[in-house]
Symmetry: C2
Subunit: 353 residues, 2 copies
């Protein structure tokens, strides 16, 4: 692991996106979203993915200058065609639209079709927090998860994020894959050569497995906690894509550019679902803040099993990692460093690390 | 088990509610909601609870003639004070309000404070289906679930329900407790004297346990799939109560009347959160139906592990139970039958079974 300064990596990603034709504000935004993943400790969704987005561009599956537009709307909703843009830049714009609608209608909800991966859901949901709104963000993703009773990859890790603003404490940020474990955790186990917990993956024949390499052998991820996780993954697929006009289920185009999308696509690109709810659309703002702070305090004080490990509030571990990484830099493994060095060389961008 | 006809039980519950002072339309509605649980196979939430609601009335914790009102609203939202009414009757009215708002604003969202248990979430969410809307219903509940790292009961089983209308197929109805298992499943294990799967409960000291009686010994339920289930339970608690003004966390009043609510309540009653989204607020209705039907068909055809057990669509098992029970009657165990016979005797209602 080598630690690289946050600002250095941010600037580097921004340059790479801009050199590849992204308008300056979008390059800045896309870099900001990517780096937010590294800051929050979601290493699988940060700079490690930079070259992946560029390969989608090279494969003409992503458009760095999308002419996105609202194709359907009501006072509290909209549907956006992202014109094959990156979710990294479309999702924050969709959240802006959702918040504008919430300012007038109380809530705003935006479904997005024809997009590409949007980084971490928490980035987009958390944009609502400074406006005293609850932020919601979901996306579907390349199929890796088998529904209960199946051995076929039918759903992505389909994350759900809800961010609740707080005052005295940090916001409550719930950001979770609906699979038992996300890819990132499998990759960590692969690198360490360790077996993984039960119920994370199954073999291609549907047998139980503790092998972190099972996915490479044609196996599938398992849904969170069994059939309920399958239902949650389905929920995200329906909201993000059946509602927006994006692809769903096994038709969601793979993130990796070396795999082609299927031929008989029922929709366009991948789909997101973004929401914003003004807290004062339900009760006075001050009262809301008094009670969310009280909620957080009471949960922090819940009797722990082990006094050395107090109860954590959703979003708290990621916030602590962010504080540390802003100060100490972002740890990158050799593979990611090599990847970035190759990009620097290919696009003639000076590397400060 | 004895099977009793659906209409017989419906009429019986309606009479009991009416005799106890509930206005006729409310008595009909409350009975309809209760019986919908029995029809869908959620036996813990149906007629088995009838006497529990009456004990709340006797304890002056429930009001069968509530003067409920909207205390806050915007074009797409409202907050309701349920005046200690039953969630059974308030939640459908809140859904009606959410749908009225959705007709104008595209979506409608109603948070409810000062309520009591609302039966099964699916009943309320599914009210949106005939109007071509996606229905959402959540509630918090008496604390039984310990957050990750805690041995204290801090959250209810806090269910989440999303119902999606379909045309060629039955609707997709996702209705799930955010605990690993709901009470009903523990009770079945208790009656059969069998041990339960790992990670359903823990002892009062926070130790792993397979004992179905652990809750009676001061233990707690565990969240679905570990810390993600804790986050989902928290999500429901925040939406239903911190947003509405109801009680949250360990302060949620117990359903059983023999346990008093705590003294230092931060809110009023228990809380619900209800939503309705017009599908044509996002895309044309016909297109939506084409794709949800295609989604369902494709998931039904997902390659099964065992060809004898095809993949199920969320809501499908409950629908099949309903078909069977409407025809064959609702199976009641001896304890529930005795309970109903005692009610019949107490309130001089003729028993047709």
């Amino acid at each position: 692991m080598t630690r690289i300064g946050y600002e250095t990596l941010l600037h580097f990603c921004q340059r790479i996106f801009a050199i590849n034709g992204m308008p300056p504000e979008d390059a800045q935004l896309a870099a900001d979203v990517l780096l937010s993943a590294d800051l929050r400790g979601i290493d699988s969704h940060g700079v490690a993915r930079l070259s992946g987005y560029l390969r989608l561009l090279d494969a003409k599956r992503a458009n760095f200058k999308p002419d996105w537009k609202v194709i359907h709307e009501t006072p509290s909703t909209a549907c956006i065609d992202a014109d094959s843009g990156l979710g990294l830049t479309i999702a924050p714009k969709a959240m802006k639209l959702a918040m504008d609608k919430a300012k007038v209608a109380g809530t705003g909800w935006v479904a997005i079709q024809n997009s590409n991966h949007f980084g971490i859901a928490a980035y987009h949901a958390m944009l609502a927090l400074p406006e005293d709104m609850i932020g919601i963000a979901m996306t579907n993703a390349s199929p890796l998860v088998a529904p209960t009773f199946s051995k076929e990859r039918m759903l992505g890790t389909n994350p759900i994020c809800y961010a609740f603003p707080a005052k005295k404490y940090q916001p409550v940020v719930i950001d979770m894959a609906t699979s038992a474990a996300a890819n990132g955790k499998l990759e960590i186990a692969q690198r360490s050569g360790k077996s993984i917990p039960a119920n994370w993956v199954q073999s291609k024949d549907g047998d139980a497995s503790l092998d972190p390499d099972e996915l490479k052998k044609g196996g599938s991820l398992l849904p969170l906690g069994g059939h309920k996780g399958y239902a949650l993954g389905a929920l995200v697929d329906l909201l993000t894509s059946v509602l927006s006009g994006a692809n769903y289920g096994p038709w969601v185009p793979p993130f990796v550019a070396f795999l082609d999308p299927l031929n008989d696509l029922p929709g366009k690109g991948i789909g997101h679902f973004i929401g914003a709810m003004r807290v004062d659309a339900f009760r006075p703002k001050e009262t809301y803040y008094t009670h969310i702070d009280n909620w957080i305090q009471r949960f922090k004080e819940a009797v722990p099993v082990d006094p050395a490990q107090p109860v954590l509030i959703p979003g708290e571990p990621e916030y602590l990692i962010k504080l540390e990484r802003i100060k100490e830099g972002i740890p990158l493994n050799e593979q990611v460093l090599l990847d970035l060095r190759q990009l620097a060389s290919k696009y003639h961008v000076e590397l400060a690390f």
